[in-house]
Amino acid sequence: MSVVIAKERVDEMKSSRRVLKTLEYTPTKVQKGYTDKTLYINLTDNQVEFKDIPAVVKEKFIGGKGYGLWHLWKGVNADTKWNDPENEIVISPGPIAGITQYPGAGKSLVVSISPITGTVIDSNVGGHFGPLMKFSGFDALEIQGKAEKDVVVFIDGNKGTISIEEAPVETVDSHILAEELTEMYADDEEDKRHISVVSSGQAAEHSYIGLLNFSFYDKRKKAQRLKQAGRGGIGTVFRDKKIKALIVKYKGVKGDSNAPVDVEKIKQVGMKLHKEVHDFDDEQCQMRQVGTANLFETMSDYDLLPVNNFQYGSHKDAAKTGGRAALKKVLQQDEPDGCWFGCSMSCAKSATAYELQTGPYKGQKVVVDGPEYETIAGVGSNCGIFDIDYVLECNFYCDTYGVDTISFGTLTAFAMECFERGVIDKEVTQGLELTFGNKEAAMELLHQMARGDGFGVIAGKGVREMRKLFVREYGADENLLLDIGMESKGLEYSQYVSKESLAQQGGYALTNKGPQHDEAWLIFMDMVNNQIPSFDDKAEALHYFPMFRTWFGLQGLCKLPWNDVEPISNRSVEGPEAAKVPEHVQNYVDLYNAVTGNNIDKQEMILQSERVYNFQKVFNIRLGVVGIEGDRAPYRSMGPVTKEEFLSREDRYDKQMKENIGIDPEGKSLEEKMKITRDFRESQFAQLRDTVYKRRGWTVEGIPKVEHLQNIGMDLPEVLEVVQPYFK
């Protein structure tokens, strides 16, 4: 059910506005997927500038995340912190974003310095903002500075106006704010679909895990739907800059708005994929019925579902609470749901008319976007909670309060384990009984984050900060907390148990932004299919997949249509090549060429990504994330930390000790077996790390070699300046 905004409310908002800046401009027409323009806004002095994007930047950074990283690099210095005025939020959709003939082509990439990691973060998000912004004349929006009071930025791509206005009375929470602003800026009901809003929420103001909601108007539900740029706290940066919302309005999206060179080719490739989705989705992933949540039951069956802070990998109640049948009952089934035009994969599911049970909106019936797999696993099983209504409630509040469900789930699970192990008590949690499975306590923790009170403020700083506090103030065993605190680079782990997949341990830790699986998800390829048995095989996968997946972020594409539907041709592809889905990779090459008029092949595609990936790596080094310590992984991501964990899978560990380590477990004490297992697994991880660094062209300390940077064409002087001191 949508939130209805009364005319009086709109009048109140309008009358309280104070215009700080308005500017007229002539929107640059998109050509071959690009406008070659950046809209720069500095909120400290309300400066608005239109910057040309140089040809060399276009060639080396492509767009999307590449543009975000390049703008951010120029805007900050080696000492910039997340809440310094010079930190930026850059939003860029990429050249392919905005086509409507191929599924998954409406994404925006958001880049900033993260409060939770202290280094660069990027997040890929749906909703209509990015494409509408491009059609309004901009390949990127670069926001720097800090406003004194809450502001909104409004881009009208038809009239050619930009305004910055103080907005004191608008609601902060996204599910209301998106509706308020839509009501305010739309001429009539029909006009609402031309509007997209970027916003965050109250909890982003009091935590480091704030997210951004990107809206798209769902005309059937008559509601603004919300998609999330979730990871790394960009919503926290957004609210720290006192931005309430960014709004874009553009009417006139057509099949050729992206002005591609060869629209017929795009249609042809698109038709092929639409047919595959139509023919195979019901028997394959059922993305159209349950979205990414289809994975929940499977993960439990294969012992990969995080339960109780990643201690265990399965639970008897998984199917009952997050199984496909259970999900179909709560998710709306009768309408296709795409987060950009033309996405037949339509995984953007929602539960409608969910009646809230807690918090400031208790009793209201709302639309809950999702839940995605990560949310059910994160706020559900990983916290020992197997209750789909709780998941919906928590999902809704995380979104509207503007916090990342993945980080919220992992940090709550960590706090729960600390509570259960006596590391913290009710005095520390200020009365919250944070035991696994206590959904009331978990919900209250989230409401506290939004209000900025209680233990919610402590927990909202994330696992890393909690760990430091518990050690410093409450005498906690630091080694234990390092082992069970599921973060790397400060970012909370996403929701897969990687203990039995060495490659995925690398896929989490040997990453640029931290343990989000969007660089590489290799669990089945490695653990079950055994397609990458050697260190070299794993390293090759940890080269190829992060590079390939980076490419989605350069182009403004969704990853899901790549491999969440399997074409017939993949049956005849053997070995690890099958995981690449070669036919679909060729689709992307064809799409890029058909949009831009360039002529790349699969190798050049990887090279485009490799340049940006290495640039991001060097950016991390510039900001102080250097060496193997920067890629540290908690032991729980590699193996069993506690006796209970070991004993729960003792047969497996004993068998592995005999077959893989060559030591007979017979007669060994539990402590001895745990130590042997740990030593072996940690040495395997170290060997993997060395092999991956080498494959990526980096030193054993993880520094990209000058020669490698030259070979891939990322030898810009400012890049070399950062790495050269390591070679003296």
Partner: protein, 65 residues
């Protein structure tokens, strides 16, 4: 013994592809299966016998996040 995705796996008399899938608790809805390089269609899982020494590949084309 058979080779199951390149690893040793116990074999027993009467083993079929279907029984192997059940034993391994492979519940994922799509599996791409080859026995000694020959692709096995889903409708034949129950009647495809696995012989001692066979090289069985059961690939999960699962994409994940």
């Amino acid at each position: 013994m058979i080779q199951m995705n390149g690893r040793d796996h116990d074999w027993y008399e009467g083993m079929t592809i279907q029984s192997l899938i059940t034993d391994l608790n492979y519940t994922y809805p799509i599996l791409l299966i080859r026995v000694n390089g020959t692709f096995i269609e889903k409708e034949n899982y129950g009647n495809t016998r696995v012989q001692k020494g066979d090289d069985v590949k059961i690939i999960h084309p699962i994409a994940g996040g």
